[in-house]
Symmetry: none
């Protein structure tokens, strides 16, 4: 394996945790969150905070990229376009943080399990919701010689 140590090579477990966090709605973790995450992930192998930072940056950017390219290939008038319109609206730099918005997101969360959320509903509103109201934990399967890791991130500092 390329343990060149020239560049971070995330382990499968690290990727799983990061992906779970992402799927849970985390997009741009704060410095504190990055610290905690990388601290937890250091259990599985060498990792620096900047790796976590880059991972989220890249993952988010490439999801956006993917969507944007999909848009170009997709001209038909279908529900996809409706989603795009919604996304354009919600991403139009007007992030609503009032109660009504948060409650609407809560309803969405109650209706659908987290990991089945469309990639569009997860944007800014859910991110804010997650960071403000949520404490989530990621349980790693017992594939290692250790008990389940409880990666609990307190967003209330």
């Amino acid at each position: 394996m390329g343990t060149k140590c020239g560049r971070w090579n995330p382990t499968a477990e690290q990727v799983k945790v990061l992906t779970d966090l992402f799927r849970s709605g985390l997009r741009t973790p704060t410095t504190d969150q990055i610290q905690k995450i990388s601290s937890q992930l250091s259990f599985y192998g060498n990792i620096e905070s900047k790796n976590v930072f880059y991972w989220f940056q890249n993952h988010k950017a490439r999801e956006r990229q993917k969507r944007r390219r999909k848009v170009l290939v997709d001209e038909s008038i279908n529900d996809e376009d409706m989603r795009i319109q919604f996304d354009n609206i919600s991403s139009n730099k007007q992030i609503n943080t009032n109660h009504e918005t948060a409650e609407r997101v809560i309803e969405t969360l109650q209706l659908f399990p987290l990991n089945s959320l469309s990639e569009y509903a997860e944007t800014e509103k859910l991110r804010l919701f997650t960071e403000e109201y949520m404490t989530f934990s990621c349980s790693i399967g017992a594939e290692m010689d250790h008990p389940t890791l409880d990666l609990r991130l307190s967003f209330f500092s």
Copy 2:
């Protein structure tokens, strides 16, 4: 080469000059300084003042970020931590501009060559000192088909 011309692509020489200026203690050049720098750097290729402005902004910010995101599970009280503490103090928005400070910095400069200064002693105090009392020049090695460029910036203007 990515001559996409959508965004500035600094040449190696431009980066070297900018880096040298940064290492010399320059952090937030004034408009005049930016003008002169970009004027000098235009010798090596297309460049605008805003490129210089952004370069210093990004470079400074990312040096801080790097420090903040690099250290992970390092609980030993070493010079790194002391540096960080010093940095926190000196960046605490109380920049001392009196004579005593300037003189202390002068002593430091006399004791150590500029390019061996720790990246922490270069902060605000040195920056102010540099801008107020210093005229420095960056000599570009003779790797080009031109005589040494003397980038002399007058801070007294």
